[in-house]
Symmetry: C2
Subunit: 150 residues, 2 copies
């Protein structure tokens, strides 16, 4: 395996799949004594340009973010279009989906990981940046998300 | 639900279940360009006083820790005695098991959570402290570990 592929090892986010973002957001807010954040919907496919397993998809999710120390906990409620979110939720039920790292040079990082048998699972754009979910299960036993902010 | 039960919302650890701690530790070390830590074995039952679902158990695990920003990533290879580690690994396969928070007053926190329909799943002692895994799946969609250090 190539070494130090990301260039950092700072976990910036943990993502958790849920069926009902309103209900689970309220539970987190109550349990931790913090305000319930509003959820937001990811962009439509024309803007997000989401690709899942190399195919364009209309998939969107509702997202809610909680600051939990130095990292964010992200709740994710997927729709029923094909995506890593929907597939993983169907297969594993509610629970942790990924840990995320901020990187520079998305194309290069994705290419290097694919050369190391860590395939691109899904990618998309958001306002101010882009993400890629990498299938690192074989080596790291979890999905890794790369985040690049412009 | 009682509010702000833990008294903080700082994730201090994420725990990942693995079948082969040597192999996965090496993969993490290579991928992130850091030294492979030695694993350690948890204490025997006479010291750890492990209880799983209210019953004493001989269960032990191999643990390896990685500093990943402000939190630790913990790899866990369980033995085959009854434990939340073994049960979860058998049911879900390798992957994330819990997120952990440092708390004060273990008995009080566990009692308050149990009053809020978040049952104690497993507890035990380690040198300098103790832990409790709480079944918070219904509300928070993940197992929570409480850590109390003396």
């Amino acid at each position: 395996m190539d070494k130090n592929i990301l260039g950092n090892n700072v976990i910036t986010q943990i993502g958790i799949l849920v069926h009902d973002i309103e209900k689970t957001s309220q539970a987190y807010a109550d349990f931790f004594g913090i305000d319930k954040p509003d959820w937001s919907m990811t962009d439509t496919a024309d803007i997000a340009q989401t690709e899942y397993r190399k195919q364009p998809t209309q998939a969107r999710v509702k997202l809610a973010f909680f600051d939990m120390g130095s990292l964010q906990l992200e709740l994710i409620e997927p729709d029923h279009n094909p995506s890593t979110w929907r597939e993983y939720l169907n297969e594993h039920g509610e629970g942790p989906h990924h840990i995320a790292f901020v990187i520079n040079g998305m194309k290069g990082k994705v290419a290097m990981m694919e050369r190391n048998q860590m395939p691109l699972l899904q990618k998309g754009e958001y306002t101010g940046g882009r993400y890629a979910y990498m299938d690192t299960f074989n080596d790291l036993k979890i999905i890794l998300e790369l985040l690049e902010n412009d």
